[in-house]
């Protein structure tokens, strides 16, 4: 069962053709890693999955992206519902300048949760899921901007979990973090795949190997290879993949 089925996706920023005929199926409740050199279109591809590219002027998209069998670019699709179901955590932590509690409660409130008890419960559960609860439970009313970088990144993950998504898109969520925070987030991702589909962009090959079940290798806008991670790393079917994962270019 796939969460996403992407078929012959082509994408342009103005005249810049950045994704070429990308087709792949992203399996549900698995971790899929997107790897490839800088500028090859990983973030762009990720953002095409929750329509965050709608915010960028001059983007043109062809082909289809099905989420649970529904074309997300079809006319009349409710983008807010899509984004509620397909959560995203950005490369740079972007905690809102509010209290920790209000950061997490923001999404649920937007989607109509009003009862204090229900919100309290959601906040606690999301923070626990993101392995942050013990560090912040005594300072929920303090500003989220007082947290460390790694904590803020986990806060953003908790915030995304709080709206109850089915998918989590992570764009280099650990690239700015120390090894300990990175390990926490990797553990988190490994746990999350029981309930969520995770798609993560990473430049860290070890990380991709450690946490992902499937891996997609992008190069200059082409999807070169998509396979179970083990196979993609150990017996790649394409010369360019082999070169990249063995660190010969990138």
């Amino acid at each position: 069962m796939n969460s996403f089925d992407v078929d012959i996706l082509n994408l342009w920023y103005g005249d810049n053709h950045v994704l070429h005929d990308v087709s792949l199926g992203i399996p549900a409740r698995r971790v899929t890693a997107l790897i490839g050199p800088s500028g090859c279109g990983k973030s762009t591809f990720l953002k095409s999955l929750n329509r965050m590219l709608d915010l960028v002027e001059g983007v043109r998209i062809e082909g289809s992206v099905l989420f649970d069998g529904q074309d997300i670019y079809a006319p009349g699709v409710d983008v807010t519902t899509l984004r509620k179901n397909v959560g995203m955590v950005f490369q740079k932590a972007n905690a809102f300048p509010m209290s920790i509690y209000d950061n997490i409660a923001y999404g649920p409130r937007i989607h109509g949760v009003r009862k204090r008890g229900e919100l309290d419960e959601l906040v606690e559960r999301s923070l626990r899921d993101a392995a942050l609860w013990d560090e912040v439970k005594d300072r929920l009313t303090k500003s989220a901007l007082g947290l460390s970088g790694g904590q803020q990144q986990r806060l953003c993950i908790a915030r995304a979990l709080a709206v109850g998504p089915q998918v989590l898109l992570l764009d280099e969520s650990t690239s700015a973090l120390d090894p300990i925070s990175t390990e926490k987030i990797e553990e988190l991702v490994s746990r999350l795949k029981r309930d969520y589909t995770v798609v993560m962009v990473t430049h860290n090959m070890q990380q991709a190997l450690r946490v992902s079940d499937y891996a997609a290798f992008f190069l200059l806008g082409d999807l070169v290879e998509f396979a179970p991670t083990e196979r993609l790393f150990n017996s790649p079917g394409d010369r360019r993949t082999a070169d990249y994962v063995s660190g010969r270019f990138g």
Binding site: T80, L82, R83, G87, F90, F96, P97, Y106
Partner: protein, 288 residues
């Protein structure tokens, strides 16, 4: 170190120092002058009777300025009640929704609005608003507290729009993306995240608006009826500022009447100082 350069440096530092001291001296001078000339009448009438007295009648020697104080406060609150929503909505539209070209047109219009002399606001208010209010509420005169509040709200609008939209423009895009990625609509995002992130800017805008509204005299004297009544939204009223303006010209030198007008000036000054204290508390960067 180059000795010539250090002489130039020193000279300029001296100039800056003198300018700095001069500006402080001016403010201090004005404050001292207001206190010295404002205290005698308050002492003679008695602070309580002066500040809380409900009748102002110079002919009968009655100098209670409570009507003016309340009118100034209520008129300002009324202006804010109208001006804040209008200005904040306009600022959100300007920063977040309007296309580049339209935004430029609106911005110049707003700047123009800020540059219009207050007497012109008074004139337009007198010709357009006063008769409209009179008809709308079937009054004998449309020059009321409400009318003055409306004029004031238009006058503070450019401040609120400008400062708020500048603050909104400075909100990092990442916040808005974060909100949209959670499934919030654009409107929800701008009101619940962007405005929230820009709240100290909005507060500055509001306080500047208060300062402007409290200090305005020319425009409102023309639309408020200028009668020393206790304030009523649909009654003619007199503000702290307009009380000074309207009687200064005929209050004899050295009289209690004239001194009482100076005392009103002192009260107004205290209000403005309070507003600025609040402003500096809000602007002071505070962390977690």
């Amino acid at each position: 170190m180059n000795p010539k350069k250090s002489i130039v440096e020193k000279t300029f530092q001296g100039v800056f120092f003198v300018c700095g001291v001069l500006s402080i001296a001016l403010v201090a001078g004005i404050a001292i002058y207001l206190i010295v000339s404002g205290i005698p009448a308050i002492a003679e009438v008695g602070p309580a009777r002066f500040l809380l007295g409900q009748t102002w009648n110079a002919g009968k020697g009655e100098f209670g300025i409570l009507p003016f104080i309340l009118t100034s406060i209520l008129g300002t609150l009324g202006a804010l009640a109208l001006g804040i929503p209008l200005g904040v909505f306009a600022a959100v539209y300007l920063s977040k929704f309007a296309g580049k070209r339209l935004a430029r047109v609106i911005r110049s219009a707003v700047e123009l609005l800020a540059g219009i002399p207050s007497v012109v606001y008074g004139l337009v208010g007198m010709i357009v608003l006063v008769p409209a209010v009179q008809r709308a509420f079937s009054l004998s005169s449309g020059a009321t507290l409400l009318t003055a509040s409306i004029v004031l709200s238009v006058m503070i609008l450019p401040y609120i729009i400008n400062v708020t939209s500048t603050a909104l423009d400075a909100v990092p895009k990442e916040y808005e993306e974060g909100s949209l990625a959670l499934g919030a609509t654009e409107t929800e995002t701008y009101f619940r995240v962007s405005l929230h992130a820009a709240r100290s800017g909005v507060a500055v805008a509001i306080i500047q608006g208060v300062g402007r509204a409290l200090g305005e005299a020319m425009a409102i004297i023309m639309v408020s009826g200028n009668v020393a009544n206790m304030p009523h939204p649909l009654g003619s009223v007199r503000f702290l500022t307009t009380a000074i303006v309207s009687e200064m010209s005929y209050a004899p030198y050295g009289s209690l009447h004239r001194n009482a007008l100076f005392s009103i000036g002192l009260v107004l000054f205290v209000f403005i100082v309070l507003v600025n204290v609040v402003l500096s508390l809000v602007v002071r960067p505070k962390e977690a």
